[in-house]
């Protein structure tokens, strides 16, 4: 025996760590028996295993002893070298059931293959999931009875992980594309472009092409950026060029609002956004981006600016009117109290005329509404102090204000000197459209009756002056103030435009 053992050791042909470990291991206490007593089929299998560059392992005997090669040792990590010679089920406690299943199959003489088998293994000091391809072949003893297996193991963990990363990337791309399609379909984004900066070729989708008035065929091969810039509103070109220059110089996000002006078409306000990719030397490569339709928003902004401008003008004009009312009220007043009273009354008359105009959004006013305002301010309702009569006549906001101020002065004078100052006095306000040889005129007549006897004033005051001015703003208009003893009459023939 001694000589046979020495012979076996002397003829052990293998190099490598596992060859040495298997050679030196004390197998005498196992079902395999001492190395030199191993049956030829086991020796042959171990020879094949030790000679293979693929990770391989053998389980043999009734006590399921475990052997493996150098390549497998790398796979086993920190479990190596304790693993060698252990009972298979004790060696891999985390996969006992799987190994029992395999044993049952190979003991029945069947080979077994697993593909992409995920195994939770404790290796290198931690739990890791490994994906393996495993191929088991039964090994037979001298009596041709299955008594173990030879396994070839392929660790495909890195391929599986790479595949998963690829799948995740594809999923992310699909989701991004879905979002992009949604954005495009929502109408907010109306086109996309990619500018190959070194080749100066802008390729774009059909929406982008259409916005610029190009056909799909024209943009298919890519157009130089200059061809697009030609179709930018001339007032917006310089700013856009500067913005593009900054984006391709510094790689900063590009964002710019401008107008596209396709030949023979109306301009379109768009917002464009993108980013130029630079190479390692800071040279521009690709410049992709999108354009967004902001036409409606821009027009609304412009309208708002116009409105604010218009409002500012109206406020300034109103302040000038108030200034005039103040100066006239205070300069010609007999006392501060009197001035304050007159000023307030005029201011309220102006304010009421504004109310009438606000109802029509400052488009125009009906003459009867202006007249009614004056009447209700100077007499209680249904008091029969005023008789109003005339057809519907529309007047401009400016005329509405002028007429309101004139009526206010007429009414104030009537209270002070005329029919509204006596108990039974009344005022008729009548208007009509008259066709005269020189054109249509608005005839407006204010006549007082049942008041005190009227005398002509010594000189014309502010009120009379304002009445004349307010009613004769239009060329070819006439105003007559008639101080009849039976009652004051003011007649105006007004060349209102659009009668």
């Amino acid at each position: 025996m001694k000589t046979a053992a020495a012979m076996a050791i002397a003829t052990w042909p293998h190099r490598g760590e596992m060859a040495q470990l298997i050679h030196r291991h004390d197998w005498s206490n196992t079902s395999l028996g001492a190395l030199e007593t191993w049956p030829p089929s086991l020796r042959a299998s171990v020879d094949i295993m030790l000679g293979s560059p693929l990770p391989m392992a053998i389980t043999w005997g009734t006590d399921l002893r475990f052997l493996y090669n150098d390549a497998y040792a790398m796979f086993a990590g920190t479990r190596h070298p304790q693993l060698l010679g252990m009972n298979l089920l004790e060696a891999w406690p985390e996969v006992v059931e799987l190994n029992q299943e395999i044993m049952a199959a190979v003991m029945a003489g069947q080979s077994l293959s697993f593909r992409e088998l995920p195994l939770d293994l404790y290796r290198d000091g931690r739990h890791q999931t490994a994906w393996l391809n495993l191929d088991y072949s039964p090994l037979r003893d001298a009596q041709s009875q299955p008594c173990g297996w030879l396994a070839i193991l392929t660790d495909i963990t890195s391929q599986v992980l790479a595949q998963r990363a690829h799948k995740a990337a594809e999923e992310a791309y699909r989701r991004a594309k879905e979002q992009m399609d949604l954005a495009l379909a929502s109408g907010a984004v109306i086109g996309t472009w990619i500018w190959d900066v070194p080749a100066d070729k802008v390729t774009a989708d059909h929406r982008f092409a259409r916005a610029f008035g190009f056909s799909v065929d024209e943009v298919k091969g890519g157009l130089p950026i200059a061809r697009y810039l030609e179709r930018i509103h001339v007032d917006d070109r310089a700013d856009l060029r500067a913005s593009i220059q900054q984006a391709i110089t510094y790689g900063t996000p590009f964002r710019h609002e401008y107008r596209i002006q396709p030949p023979g078409g109306d301009y379109l306000w768009i917002d464009s956004a993108g980013r130029c990719e630079l190479d390692a030397h800071g040279q521009p490569l690709r410049f992709p981006g999108v354009i967004i339709d902001i036409h409606e928003r821009k027009l609304a902004e412009q309208q708002q600016r116009t409105l604010i401008h218009e409002l500012n003008h109206r406020v300034k004009n109103t302040l000038a009117i108030v200034q005039s009312i103040a100066m006239q009220s205070f300069l010609h007043a007999s006392s501060v109290e009197n001035a304050t009273e007159v000023f307030n009354a005029r201011l309220i008359a102006l304010s009421r005329a504004h109310d009438v105009l606000t109802h029509t959004h400052w488009q125009s006013a009906l003459l009867q509404d202006i007249v009614r305002q004056t009447a209700s301010a100077h007499a209680p309702p249904n008091s029969h102090r005023f008789r109003l009569e005339g057809p519907p006549v529309r007047v401009s906001p400016q005329d509405a204000l002028s007429f309101a101020m004139a009526f206010h002065e007429l009414a104030t004078n009537a209270v002070k000197y005329g029919a509204l100052g006596s108990e039974n006095g009344s005022v008729d306000i009548r208007w009509s459209i008259e066709a005269l040889p020189q054109g249509k005129r608005l005839r407006l007549c204010w006549s007082e009756q049942n008041g005190p006897t009227v005398a002509s004033p010594q000189h014309e005051g502010f009120g009379s002056r304002l009445i004349r001015r307010s009613l004769s703003a239009h060329a070819d208009s006439e105003v007559t103030l008639d101080y009849r003893p039976s009652g004051f009459v003011c007649t105006a023939l007004i060349a209102l435009p659009g009668l």
């Binding site: 401008h309 500012n312 003008h313 109206r314 406020v315 300034k316 004009n317 302040l319 000038a320 009117i321 200034q323 005039s324 009312i325 100066m327 006239q328 300069l331 401009s396 400016q398 002028s402 101020m405 502010f462 002056r465 304002l466 001015r469 307010s470 703003a473 239009h474 060329a475």
Partner: protein, 119 residues
């Protein structure tokens, strides 16, 4: 300048109350108002026919602008300035450099503008 008399001013202003106030201010400052034109058509006729030394032009005349009057005054070589509640955006490009008196204004502002315009 009209020798021996107060300078004569054509006032173009569509707002009766404002027109009256400016008229009073001008007379108080020693100017003579030859006419007040509240609308463009009348302003053009008066600017072509009347003799005067200076014109004050409200820019917005019931929806029209007084720029045609300004063009006519330039041809006649009569100095003028604009009056408006608008800031300079109310002036079009050809009149950007014209004088502008902003409403509302104090008599002192008016006096300075008149002196500037008459040189």
């Amino acid at each position: 300048m009209h020798s021996g008399n107060s300078p004569r001013v054509l006032l173009v202003e569509d707002e009766p109350l404002v027109g009256m106030m400016i008229e009073d201010m001008l007379e108080h400052l020693g100017y003579q108002v030859v006419a007040v034109a509240p609308r463009l058509q009348l302003a053009l006729e008066l600017a072509a026919q009347l003799q005067f030394d200076l014109a004050m032009l409200d820019i917005n005349l019931a929806g029209e602008t007084s720029f045609p009057v300004a063009d006519l005054l330039r041809q006649r070589g009569i100095p003028f300035f604009f009056v408006s509640g608008y800031g300079s955006p109310g002036l079009d490009h050809s009149h950007t450099y014209a004088r502008l008196l902003r409403k509302p204004f104090a008599p002192r502002d008016l006096q300075r503008m008149l002196a500037d315009a008459l040189g």
